[in-house]
């Protein structure tokens, strides 16, 4: 098996790095040069493992002693693999590095931070990062994700320690006061949810973290889990203590083997350090944390379907009420929060609710982790306060399209989110403003399309996606999505356009108002946004859909 097939755990790495105060120097080879090569799946998808392997090989051939640390990604994904070298002047970045660059890097003195065509300078000076306010992602890319020492040295566990000194209701009050809202898409106030669980009768309660990040254009959960897993562990323990739950489940989609592996390793380490288990940080609080792996069903990102899945059943939506907060996992009161919602909690407890709630606009408090994706020049993580405009994100941080062609549309909030035309990029990104323009923030994914996009096709795809991923329980979603594909096909083929457009409109209403959950309920959102903003693409009649053979399950 080549290095490319192996998991990150098998790649040589060492604990911690010398940037961090109080971090013990490794005694085995103190003179070694520390080199950071990300273990993030995105970086690995473009060769980070091969780069790490080649750097080791080249350095060893050259008689250089190097220590490779597999960190998370800084979130400047167009620069991956982004290699950082620790020099007396600080960390110096090179990128994007290909394996074949290793030799020239070593020979030209990159290990001392010298000039090289790939030299980027100090990573923190990068314009992309400079304007960001990283609270949730503060540690990602900076540290060895599986080093407890790194974690503590960078402020880890302070929030938990503070929580352990508080009454349950005080913790919940703090989260309420922060104004934190659910980052999974619905935007429900996190603290209020916690209070419901805290007040719910019952001895057994659960904390469930929804890491079934299935929306296209979103990858922040994955990067956080791969880049700062202890943060999520700490957050879930705090949640458990706050509501009186002694057990947590972290539901990760199977498409994220790297995140699964990293979280499992982090949990093992956390148990070993007494952060999890019968006595959290030596207190009387117990908290056990299990990783559950999804099995390829998008719908399990819906909280009730996720609970069904954790319980070992078909991931079918449960009707609400009862709310999961009152009757959730195994019928017990349960917190269900998204990765980013939970991950905001330690910093809220560390710095206080006020510090968090000062950031943001309107009822959207704190920072939002945007993810720039698709046809974008500078794709990556942008954590900024709410209120940033779409234009700032796409043209500012993102630098426009990757193709260099004009940006025509972005889809915000995943496959169920609206397509927003370029002339609306002045829209500030917050829950209420987006809702007012018929869009939604969702999980903060921003997918950029240039002017070659066929919006008729995208409308059809919205229905197709729903047809493929529907759990099949409710009629509007199960049947409506298939009929939606067919009606759009007829519109695109120019058959009875007006009749079919009217039918599509009614179908969108039926799905929106009558569906059991957001899957069917929001599928019309992208369709309607296209009808509103790109009607010309449904009028051309020159598109022959269905050119990609459908999978068997769908045929």
């Amino acid at each position: 098996m080549s290095a490319a097939d192996s998991m990150p755990g098998s790649v040589p790495r060492r604990v911690g790095h010398p940037d961090l105060p109080g971090h013990p120097d490794p005694s085995d080879h103190p003179d070694a040069v520390r080199v950071f090569v990300p273990r993030d799946s995105a970086a690995r998808s473009v060769g980070a493992d091969e780069v790490a392997e080649e750097l080791l090989r080249v350095a060893s051939t050259a008689g250089r002693d190097i220590d490779i640390v597999r960190n998370g990604s800084r979130g400047m994904l167009w620069l991956e693999p982004l290699v950082e070298v620790v020099t007396p002047q600080g960390r110096v970045a090179y990128g994007p590095v290909a394996p074949q660059d290793a030799a020239s890097l070593v020979s030209s003195g990159a290990l001392e931070g010298r000039e090289h065509p790939l030299l980027l300078g100090a990573p923190e000076d990068a314009a992309f990062l400079a304007g960001q306010k990283r609270l949730t992602f503060a540690r990602v890319g900076l540290v060895d994700p599986l080093s407890p020492e790194d974690y503590i040295a960078t402020g880890g566990l302070v929030g938990l320690e503070r929580a352990l000194e508080m009454q349950r209701s005080q913790i919940v009050d703090e989260v309420v006061a922060s104004g934190l809202r659910g980052r999974g898409g619905a935007g429900f106030p996190t603290g209020i949810k916690w209070r419901t669980v805290l007040d719910a009768p019952g001895d057994v309660k659960f904390v469930c973290c929804n890491a079934d990040e299935g929306d296209s254009g979103t990858y922040a959960d994955r990067m956080l889990m791969e880049g700062d897993p202890f943060l999520l562990v700490e957050a879930m323990v705090i949640a458990g203590i706050a509501v009186g739950a002694a057990e947590g489940y972290l539901y990760i989609r199977s498409e994220y083997p790297g995140a699964i592996e990293t979280m499992q390793a982090a949990i093992t380490i956390a148990y070993g350090n007494g952060w999890l288990g019968d006595s959290v940080l030596g207190t009387r609080n117990a908290f056990d944390l299990h990783v559950r792996v999804g099995a390829g069903a998008y719908i399990c990102g819906e909280e009730t379907a996720m609970l069904e899945s954790i319980e070992g059943r078909r991931g079918v939506i449960r009707a609400k009420p009862p709310l999961p907060a009152l009757q959730g996992l195994f019928g017990c009161p349960t917190i269900v929060n998204n990765v980013l919602s939970l991950a905001a909690v330690p910093s809220i407890l560390t710095a206080g609710a006020a510090a968090y709630s000062e950031i943001g606009v309107g009822t959207s408090r704190g920072t939002q982790v945007f993810q720039l994706a698709g046809n974008v020049r500078y794709g990556g993580i942008v954590e900024v306060p709410f209120g940033v405009t779409l234009g700032d994100l796409v043209w500012g941080y993102g630098g426009g399209s990757a193709s260099g062609r004009p940006v025509r549309a972005v889809q915000v909030g995943g496959p169920l989110g609206a397509y927003i035309p370029a002339d609306r990029f002045d829209t500030p990104m917050d829950y209420e403003t987006l809702a007012s323009v018929g869009a939604m923030l969702g999980h903060g994914g921003v997918v950029v399309f240039d002017d070659t996009v066929d919006m008729g096709r995208q409308a059809r795809f919205a229905m197709e996606f729903c047809a493929t991923e529907s759990c099949g329980k409710c009629t509007p979603c199960r049947l409506g999505s298939v009929r939606g594909v067919e009606v759009i096909d007829r519109i695109l083929a120019g058959d009875d356009r007006e009749v079919n457009l009217a039918l599509l409109d009614e179908l969108c209403e039926t799905m929106t108002d009558a569906s059991l959950c957001a899957m069917g309920g929001l599928t019309p959102m992208p369709v309607r946004s296209i009808l509103a903003h790109f009607p010309e693409d449904l009028a051309r009649g020159d598109v022959r859909p269905g050119t990609v053979p459908l999978p068997e399950s769908f045929r």
Binding site: A297, I299, R314, G315, V316, A319, K320, P321, A467, T468, E469, S470, C471, G472, K473, C474, T475, P476, R478, L479, G480, S481, V482, R483, E486, V487, V499, L503, E506, L507, E509, T510, D513, A514, S515, L516, S553, F554
Partner: protein, 931 residues
Amino acid sequence: MPLVKERDLGTRAVSGSPSVELEIDGMAVAVPEGTSVMRAAALAGIGVPKLCATDSLAAFGSCRLCLVEIEGVRGTPASCTTPVAPGMKVSTQTPRLERLRRNVMELYISDHPLDCLTCAANGDCELQDMAGAVGLREVRYGQAGQSHLGEVKDTTNPYFAFDPAKCIVCSRCVRACEETQGTFALTITGRGFGSRVAPGPAGNFFDSECVSCGACVQACPTDALEEKSVIDMGVPDRSVLTTCAYCGVGCSFRAELRGDEVVRMVPSKSGQANEGHSCVKGRFAWGYATHRERVVKPMIREAITDPWREVSWEEAIGYAGSRLREIQATYGVASIGGITSSRCTNEEVFVVQKMVRAAFGNNNVDTCARVCHSPTGFGLSQTFGTSAGTQDFASVAEADVIMVVGANPSEAHPVFASRMKRRLREGARLVVVDPRRIDLVRAPHIEASHHLQLQPGSNVALINAMAHVVVTEGLVDRDFVSERCEMDDFAVWEKFISTDINSPEATEPITGVPAGEVRAAARLYAGAPNAAIYYGLGVTEHSQGSTMVMGLANLAMATGNIGRVGVGVNPLRGQNNVQGSCDMGSFPHEFSGYRHVSDDTVRHVFEELWGRTLDPEPGLRIPNMFDAAIEGTFRALFVQGEDIAQSDPNVNHVKAALESLELCIVQDLFLNETASFAHVFLPGTSFLEKDGTFTNAERRINRVRPVMAPRNGKQEWQVVCELSSAMGYPMQYDNASRIMDEIAATTPTFAGVSFRKLDELGSLQWPCNEAAPLGTPTMHVGTFVRGKGRFLETPFVPTEERASRRYPLILTTGRILTQYNVGAQTRRTGNVAWHPEDVLEIHPHDAEDRGISDGDWVTVTSRVGQTELRCRLSPRVPVGVVYTTFHHPVSGANVVTTEHSDWATNCPEYKVTAVEVRALRAPASALHRGA
């Protein structure tokens, strides 16, 4: 009798006072907290369209037809899953809702055949009804898109077909299989548009885990799951409410007919025993009633070697009457007798015992309950004061610990088993006492906390050990005992049970059950807020059957588990009217209502009414009759609807007895095994023709109503009355109702029962009299029927039937779901598809020792006889125990069972027979009789 459709309120009832007031379409409604908006609307007379909702299942919220608007609530919530709230203002009809519903329905129909006119469910289809209700007029999507219209029908089940093309994926069938039946045989496979109902990985119903209870068919709102009889005959046009004639659960059914032909049997939601549920027998296996082998003309013959001769009723009855009188003249009054049937109505049974007592002039009347539950009558009357179970079926829903002893409800009392399983899924704990690993020990979502897998025949040792733990570990409910029981008797019992010989450790060598398990089970039972005992023939059919019943009663009393809902001691009666036939005075020593014939006051009541002097001495029991017949002092027998030549033990002995009779009169549907020894055959009526009542295991008296005219031309009670008249004791009733009036007039526990009252209330549980005009669901509340509960010592006296070197295995017998008793009915239905023959279950180790492989033919030999069976290797039986059913005459399980019987009641010891099993070396085809 128009076709009755039961009202469906959409979601389950919630108990409690109607404390939540709300407004629906401007109408004020008050309902209990937790009620759905849909149900509240239905109670107010407002029907909200629905497809996935039905009031027998938990709300699901998938069809999205029942959307409503609620003031102040965003969107259009589903009324089935939305609970009411005080002050809520609901609109069920707005232009928006109408449009949404029509558009949802349009989606349904875009994937549904448009063949209503030729569909078997035409006129009986909720999809059709709802399409009309929402005003759907066109399907703008057309039907050219993706669909399931071409999917293939599954016709593998003998009784119903599954047509996936007509399935709307509402999951009602899946949910019914889970929630109502508890089998979990159905699922949805795939997801999204590909979601389909599927009977598991087998791919078809017949090979799946499906037990064919019919709950899915019942739940299906379309033609997707449909009775084949409806497909063949069309939708029925009238219905008659009646009671099933299979097991002691006594399910209520609507017999649905076209003209005089039964199209289907639909379990009735208003039936308190079954609440709309059914099993494969009751729902589907009624075809025997019109089976071609049914005999509908009376027949006589001089000798059993002669051929039968069809005769008129007059001739048959005249012949029988004169022969009976002749025999009595020759051999004495006591030389004849009768056997009543637990298959017959209370009224039919009552007239037979009356004929025996008044016309025959003796007490030689017994009932087939002799061979099943006579120890129940004896044991419970000794301890509690009455011969019946203590609870209604609904009580199990309040039990926290359920102890099932020697019963296999999922096979023998399936509809009650479903109730019990529901309670177990809710968290009640279970103790199973059975030598065999029955389904309840471990079934989907059910697992017994303790399976006390005892040696057959060691019941009493085990129950004593449990009681020993209760007494010696301080688990006795002293308050209950001192308040409710005879303290002197308790003191004697306590001393007896505390002795070391009754400890779990001392009894372990006898029972084979580890002492620790016994202790744990006893603690669990004694520690429960509500603990209930359910038992079956595994308790009674032993030489210590009566002792064991008393042991169960002792345990319940000692732990205070008597006299309220959720507890009790409950016999699961085998046949539909075992309870009733016992109640009706069929025992040789008792009049109706369990009053001894020697009781002058009671006897005088009957003597006055019947105008005859009655014998104050007990008569012969069934086995005594056989012995006396062989001896030569018993010469003639009237047998009502019981196949003693197949069902009674040591069949060779029974046959010898029957052969020695001068006259045997059989009243039955078919020429059964017993009829081959008969001289007079009087055709009987099936339950579809009977008019009367059955009393089920919970003492519930249910009406049996004639669905069709008697095919033999007469009600059975009429025949009996005519026979009695022919013997010189005229008996005459205008109708069956008059017989019940006589029962009520002579029997205090039935004093308040009449057909009129039953028709009004649906059913009644005796005692029903002035003190309890609406009947008695729970007995012994506050005080025992006998006053104070009586503890009785229960020494373990082992049976004389022991395993030996020659007969090293113990054979025990039981039942299977699809067949019933001797199979006279079920073998004449499609049920044979599931259980075409009886098989011998043997543990793989015992099989290996004997060189037997799965499927081999074997001989089973006991001290009294030998039979041949095909065997199945099964770890369900422990080493040393073999098991078979007795549904098929050809297998003759009762050829090997012995005459050992209960010491107090002579109930045969079917459950313990020492046998040896040997492989048959020749090919089975050459050996199998008739093959």
